[in-house]
Symmetry: C2
């Protein structure tokens, strides 16, 4: 298997865009008839919710696979339904990888060293003493929370490097209050910049053939000025860029996340794609054709990004 | 159901100590014969590992329930084995609650608002639109990572308050590099103190009858000076105190985590209890009697804490 950044870039080249679709299933936004059908069959249970999500995801995967290089799967929306939800999370990852998509498990894990090793075993590869099993969940990359410092992140770096997987460390997140902690000034430097410097250290020696490293950063599209600064600090890191679409960022906002070579960023959109069937634009397709609406929304997003970026397709 | 801090305190009074046992199953430390038996039966699979963990935990729960008020279950050691591991995580929580233990799921979750709501649905209670199901996992409290700021924490506070559950927000963690981020000085104040002030805000209005709030803090026993400062800043917050035992902290170190009323801290020990059968002291019992060794180690820890604290029993 090639290094993660090379596999990601090859997929971006193949699909002609740097888009990741977020598979964030929410019962209140999913097609009501699909949800009703599963609740009618399995009762008012976690199993019903999980099977509805499974159906929803499989249809989406078929529709989006020809068009995008990657999916980001947010585990919280599966954990919400307990073990059956986690089972569907695992199946979603496996089905997406089987289709050749680069799969990012958005788990934001982080803990003390031995615990971080256990998480690395779950998502990247066996690094736990006494464990010689496949990872618990089948992914290409995960997101990592750095609140616990270096010894909470290094086990992920080691596992990713050893097994050609990738990491995206939370640096400057897309949400309104990300500045509460991340923008605090330490000797005149915001925390997110200090974190970027750590990402640079962790990424050292992990570069693939294209020069990009296995240790990337999560940088919200909703903060373009900060993104520009981070791009300059981290020329070799891939950015996972949430916030496009429903969170309010537009194509112009993500420009700063890309390098002059046209690479360096993967722009994620979740709600605006997978729930496109609910929007003014695609409502006429009807809820049964939610996957077709998602496909149309992806094509529109590709156009939108390419108009501004002038690359990638 | 009573407010979480009142339930916790009642359990502490009943059991005569403020100890939580960490159920952190590791194949390399668990009794080899128990692990071998399950691998022989289920093959070299995640299922085998998970069933071994299940057996290990059930024996431990029976042995420790008479002596301690609480268990802390670190989800990473279960996620490592994929969906079967998650299933055993869920069963462990349920079995522990069924025995009347206060169950803390050490999940360190944290994300943007809507995603944090999904996590709250998973562990505390339904707060996700369109979801009217029981929580995915059966807990009394969880740990929360605050890297994403206020809107990533508030959904947990709301869910905990509404359903008499508890939170422990990561403030000053026990690991060697916790200072990388948490000790950075912002206008002369370390990040962990600023985080403590946020915990105070989040805890406002959540106090139970005993005056303690539903929003607590994770404060490592390995940093007693910082703990003393945090105790002064957060008189009404319960501290979840990891680091005792295998991580090197001793009874004297945790004294600063307690209030003068003898409450305010729950001291966790994982490895030194559940793998006590491996230690010099209890090795003669034999690996088959790991639960008995754990029981003996708990009694020793109780003595140790009470000698220093002079309360709680």
């Amino acid at each position: 298997m090639e290094p993660f950044p090379d596999r990601l870039i090859a997929a971006i080249q193949r699909k002609g865009c740097a888009i990741s679709v977020g598979l964030d299933p929410r019962l209140d936004l999913m097609p009501p008839e699909l949800v009703r059908r599963h609740f009618a069959r399995y009762g008012h249970t976690h199993q019903a919710a999980s099977m509805a999500i499974r159906d929803f995801n499989l249809s989406l995967l078929d529709a989006i696979t020809p068009h995008v290089p990657s999916v980001k799967v947010q585990v919280a929306f599966y954990e919400a339904f307990g073990p059956p939800g986690t089972q569907v999370f695992a199946e979603t990852l496996t089905e997406a990888r089987r289709r050749g998509l680069i799969v990012i498990a958005d788990v934001k894990r982080g803990d003390i060293e031995m615990t971080a090793k256990a998480y690395a075993t779950a998502y990247l590869a066996s690094s736990l003493p006494g464990v010689e099993l496949a990872p618990g969940f089948d992914t290409d990359a995960i997101t990592v929370n750095p609140y616990l410092g270096g010894d909470g992140v290094l086990p992920f770096v080691e596992a990713a490097t050893a097994h050609n997987k990738g990491l995206f460390v939370l640096v400057k997140t897309s949400n309104p209050t990300s500045g509460d902690l991340q923008d605090l000034l330490v000797d005149g430097t915001p925390v997110y910049e200090r974190m970027a410097k750590r990402v640079r250290e962790w990424g050292r020696g992990t570069a693939g053939h294209m020069g990009y490293q296995a240790v990337g950063a999560v940088v919200g599209a909703t903060y373009p000025a900060e993104a520009a600064r981070l791009r300059a600090l981290l020329p070799q890191a891939y950015f996972l860029v949430p916030g496009y679409g429903a969170q309010g960022a537009e194509a112009e906002d993500v420009r700063a996340c890309f390098n002059p070579d046209g690479y360096g960023a993967l722009v994620n959109s979740s709600r605006a794609i997978i729930y496109a069937y609910r929007s003014e634009m695609y409502r006429s397709l009807g809820e049964a054709h939610f996957a077709q609406a998602a496909e149309a929304a992806i094509l529109a997003m590709k156009d939108d990004l390419n108009t501004v970026l002038g690359r990638c397709t």
